[in-house]
Point group: C2
Chain length 410, copies 2
């Protein structure tokens, strides 16, 4: 994700996750929504009203917290003080009752942190169609407000997990000639993941000073090539959300000159989190990057890459270490984009298995050997004569995925 | 599939598969393409040149036999004498060499059965990217020609299998006021199945007398609501083909009056074969029909039904007997069609789990009980206020699917 980094800008990975940028405190608590007693409620609070940006799911069935957060951002003019997130219950497809619970949750948080209700953003993740327990949210949010800390990043990263195997955090320091700022973040997501616009839940903070409109543009630009370029199972959630808050604490104001540096920092953090989501995909054992070249447009390259990335036959072959490049060609061929099999090529790692319509099946053993690794790179030239390319990240499909998803509720 | 059957027409299921209609002989042999020594080459021969129709894959990577058969049908004006089918090798992505092998195979069959080369149709199924052994094809076709029989249906049905667990045959007798004719058929397919136009390999015969153009129209009409309405894994093969030959042996000429009876017979046979393909899908344990109602067009109903039918989260939930209707709503919501969650409903069997935006989660145990069956019916009202509907058949997704497809070649 380092391509296009502006000159004179240095980006270093740092610790601290979502509270790495000064100006934010966080706490994660166990509110009882998860019956296991695990952390399930996260509260992030800005020391002062922060610029806020968001991208939401494109699914037409949108969860109550998505509807409410969208409304709050519009009303507040892109400012927020707090984000409340619960796991264990998606509060989606819950009708008017679900919407009322979400509004009451936001009102309650506003009252305890001392801000306007529309300065509170909300997100939920978990089972669809079950009502969220407002009492548990209130008690949990109260406890969390009393436990807010500049070091709360790991607790909140844990509190937003569902079937995730590990918390997902990332943070960088962006040094520019005009000053240094930070970008930090956390994400959750392990299934129902093919973002069309946002993905699962992602939360990003920065101490740069950025106007809301600029912040929104930068977030969209970073998300398009990170969270929106991953797919685990092709399903788009009802709750997908990425929030970005900017505290301005660093005093580094992002105008035209520093905009590329901000986007670079966001791409770095969003990219790390997005790849962590794929690597931690339900039942996943491999991170697979699919690069599509020779396309007549970036859209066609992306469409073909996603078709290949979501092919069950491709995902199972990679899982089994089977260099079945024919499945890659077949998936590209049905993607609905310009494709010429007589000029198409397939590369698995550094091994060319198919070039301009001719197979090199004798190289299959080499490719099989490469596929025993955990980081797989595949490149397909669509042979369409175009000069456009796109990369999508996905994971393999294992029997464990079926097990996890066949037994989710029961 | 019995809806729309014309009055005065009786359709009865009969034995005999693809050789049930008089005028055809078949033989299946082991040519050595499959290393296991199983039957792998099928030859079907009409006693006299038959009217012929076909539908082929919409995948842009089309296998050599698809290219050659399309060419032959055009040149022969829709007539054929023989169909040669091999399993174990798809002869797809095999470049000029693969094309030459297919042409030589057809020439050889023409020479031994005594017809023009363009009266021979060909189909292949199996691994992509491996060259087909012409010597084995020639020896096998020679043996098959010597073994042709009016009772050869089961051998050819076995010879076209790959990972299929059982041969798939169907046949009916269509009694009309103007006379009686038969429709028979066989199919194979267990993976890489989401037909956009045809599906896997299907072979249909009839002893009705039908002009090629009428035969083509009838085949397309029947295939659209049968083979084209199933999906196992969303992948469209490079080799998908359905052939239909009409011998005319019955003396029953199909004009405008009998056309509906012909289509009914074809729908019956194609429907039985299509559902057999889904029921025998790789690792499948359940046949699932997804009916989408309340859509603004049949296209939107079909698109939404296929999106739900291909959702890994839906397929794994059904496999695990989990009445996770939220996944159904989420999949419908991302289908890219008109959808209103506040007016949408979900029915699993006879149990309504979600109605006009409100969940009935207390009925989940009843639905879980229903999902222990092997024939599952799901109906989703998109709430879009339209009056259009469509049904798609799919299967559940099991760990066995992953096992089969992770180990296909190795």
């Amino acid at each position: 994700m380092s391509q296009g980094r502006p000159s004179g800008v240095t980006i270093d990975v740092v610790d601290g996750g979502i509270t790495a940028p000064p100006g934010f405190r966080a706490a994660g608590v166990a509110s009882g929504i998860k019956k296991t007693g695990a952390l399930d409620l996260a509260l992030l609070v800005a020391d002062a009203p922060a610029s806020a940006a968001a991208v939401f799911t494109t699914n037409k069935a949108q969860a109550a917290p998505v509807l409410v957060s969208r409304e709050h951002l519009a009303r507040s003019g892109g400012h927020a003080v707090a984000i409340l997130v619960n796991s264990g219950c998606a509060n989606a497809c819950t009708g008017p009752e679900g919407l009322a619970v979400t509004r009451s949750s936001a009102d309650f948080v506003a009252s305890i942190v001392g801000c306007a209700p529309d300065q509170v953003l909300v997100a939920s993740t978990g089972v669809i169609g079950v009502q969220l327990d407002l009492d548990k949210i209130r008690k949990g949010a109260g406890s969390a407000a009393g436990a807010l800390s500049r070091n709360g990043h790991l607790d909140v990263a844990k509190a937003i997990m569902t079937t995730d195997v590990a918390p997902k955090e990332a943070a960088v320091r962006v040094a520019t000639p005009a000053g240094t700022f930070h970008v930090g973040g956390m994400a959750k997501g392990a299934g129902m993941i093919e973002p069309n616009m946002a993905t699962m839940l992602g939360f990003i903070t920065t101490d740069a000073a950025v106007e809301p409109a600029v912040l929104q543009r930068a977030l969209k630009e970073a998300v398009d090539v990170t969270f929106n370029a991953i797919t685990i199972d092709g399903d788009t959630s009802t709750n997908d959300t990425v929030f970005l808050l900017a505290s301005g604490t660093s005093g580094v104001a992002v105008g035209d000159a520093l905009y590329p540096a901000l986007v670079s920092g966001l791409r770095e953090v969003c990219g790390m989190l997005a790849r962590a989501i794929v690597r931690g995909g339900e039942g996943a054992t491999k991170l697979v990057s699919i690069t599509m070249t020779g396309a007549v447009s970036v859209d066609e390259a992306t469409k073909a890459a996603k078709t290949v990335a979501n092919s069950l036959l491709v995902k199972t072959a990679i899982h089994g270490g089977d260099p079945n490049w024919g499945r890659l060609v077949a998936a590209a061929g049905r993607a609905g984009v310009a494709f010429d099999v007589e000029r198409a090529s397939v590369r698995v790692g550094s091994i060319v298995l198919f070039k301009e319509g001719v197979p090199f099946d004798d190289r299959a053993p080499q490719a099989a050997d490469y596929l025993t690794g955990t980081d797989i790179e595949i490149e397909i030239d669509l042979g369409a004569g175009g000069s456009h390319a796109a990369t999508v990240w996905t994971c393999d499909l294992s029997a464990e995925y079926v097990k996890i998803n066949g037994e989710y509720r029961t």
